[in-house]
């Protein structure tokens, strides 16, 4: 596994992976790690500063901030990952269909993608939330609906490029079934491209989701979510600015970790990038397409 070897050489990447893995585990087993019930109101502890019992202090309702951060991992990170996975899956299936079989299927899927991509993603998400109503679930649905086209596009380019290679052509000519070719020859090589594009969009997705929650369009009270916590903290921003600290930092750390990982992955999978002096013989589809269209909204 050359990839892992390359990755583990990169110190920042190792730290990022650690941060991400720890975050995911803590989020999955939140009840186990959280010291308190995140929704337990305790008016006597309003705005209490940090103590041994409440490591990060208490919020405007006296709830344990640490516990809320820990429970907040679920909507802020885990659900985002689920949404991402689903949209990449849709994108991959359609991308393989159109990139491998070409012809009419390809033309049709690409036209649909064109239309999907001609809406600004952020506006589209807002529109879908507007129609379906506010709530985390609806935002996630909106995300899936908005993002798949983009993934399908990139994966198609990648599949097309690899289908052109001699040995794939050879397998095609020698009558091996399409499914088998895709499974045995194309999935392994396109996988790296898929990993790079999906990892590169996690960061912006986390930021966007927390942004929607911040606006009150996402998860509803009293559930904990990082953007939502920031929204609550904003009301007392001038008297208690410290409340903005923990959730904000949590977002920054997790998003940076994902971004670092994505960069490191790109280098690990494509060592040419490291010494950019040596001109890559063939630009990988991800790098070129990504340059054309990278959308990050907060």
């Amino acid at each position: 596994m050359r990839i892992f070897k390359n990755l583990s050489k990169d110190k920042l990447a190792t730290i990022s992976v650690t941060v991400i893995v720890v975050t995911i585990i803590v989020g999955l087993f939140a009840p186990f790690f959280a010291p308190h019930d995140p929704n337990q109101v305790n008016m006597s502890l309003r705005y209490a500063s940090s103590s041994w019992e409440y490591l990060l202090g208490n919020d405007h309702l006296g709830r344990c901030i640490l516990s809320r951060i820990i429970y907040g991992i679920r909507p802020s990170v885990l659900w985002v990952l689920v949404a991402l996975f689903i949209s990449v899956l849709i994108g991959a299936v359609l991308g393989f269909l159109s990139g491998y079989f070409r012809g009419k299927v390809d033309a049709f899927i690409m036209r649909v993608c064109d239309i999907m991509l001609s809406f600004p993603g952020y506006v589209m998400t807002l529109a879908i939330v507007g129609i379906l109503g506010v709530g985390l679930g609806n935002i996630l649905i909106a995300f899936i609906l908005v993002k798949w086209a983009w993934f399908a596009r990139v994966i198609r380019t990648s599949v097309m490029q690899y289908s052109e290679l001699e040995y794939v052509k050879f397998s095609k000519a020698s009558g091996i079934s399409d499914l088998k070719i895709i499974y045995k020859h194309l999935v392994p090589v396109t996988f790296s491209d898929i990993a790079v594009i999906s990892s590169s969009s996690i960061g912006s997705m986390i930021l966007q989701i927390s942004g929607f929650s911040f606006l009150g369009l996402g998860i509803q009270a009293p559930n904990a979510e990082w953007g939502m916590m920031l929204n609550e903290a904003r009301e007392v921003m001038f008297t208690r600015p410290e409340l903005m600290l923990a959730p904000g930092l949590a977002i920054v750390i997790v998003v940076s970790a994902f971004n670092f990982l994505s960069d490191a992955l790109q280098v690990a999978l494509d060592p040419k990038l490291l010494n950019s002096k040596k001109r890559p013989q063939q630009k990988s589809p991800t790098t070129t397409v990504k340059i054309q269209k990278k959308e990050v909204a907060h």
Binding site: L165, E166, Y167, V189, D270, K272, N275, K277, Q281
Partner: protein, 277 residues
Amino acid sequence: MENILEVRNLRVWDLNSDKVLIANNSFDLRRSSCLAIVGESGSGKSITCRSIMRLNGSSLRQSGEILFKGENLTTLSEKKMRRKRGRKLCMILQNGMSAFDPSCVIGVHLKETLAEHFDCDWKKNEIEEKMKLAMESVMLKNPIEIMNKYPHQLSGGMLQRIMIALAIVLEPDIIIADEPTTALDTVSQFEVVEQFIQLRKKMGCSMIFISHDLGVVRKIADEVLVMKDGEIVERGPTEAIFLKPEHKYTKYLVSTRLALSENFKKLMRGETIVAES
């Protein structure tokens, strides 16, 4: 015959990885002769050429002496070196398609180059006239029309010949051609090689010619250098090398020359791409 270019202990290494790419190579280029450099991909042929022109990327460092007509190029100031490039040492690249700015017509590059070198001693019209003649002499019809075309509108062979035409006008002492025929189909390959032979006859300039194609090398070169992994493993007059290769790598090269059909080369290239990405 005297030497026009003497390379002494050329050493090139990569700053980032400290890898030595060229190890203490010395060779000479005699006046009015053609020196071919052959060797497998990655053996350091292009780097050698670029070191002579002092055009290696910033991550590469070089040491050693490069004497051009007795003048050491490595100690020249960047400004003086720049005047030598083009006028004294002219390079012809492998891929004509990418050698010209894709967003400008060909003429822009030609004019800029000529204006740079002939600004003081030639009138503009005269240069254009010369350029036209040169282009016609390399079998490019309608030079004016071609000058107003973008690189992507021309074929690889045409672009290659435009570079040769430019070299004719610049009248350099040394032409360095880095695989000028590799990217071409067989017919244009033949034409371009013809042009090189003509070029040598007409101008009597010295030439460093890099190629994978030993057939071409045999046709054009007086002497051959064989490189492997950044080292010169064998050198000598062309015929001697072809008839009596001494180093086993050269033997291998010469013996496989026939087996190496075009198709197979292409296939090899395809596979290296897979391996790298």
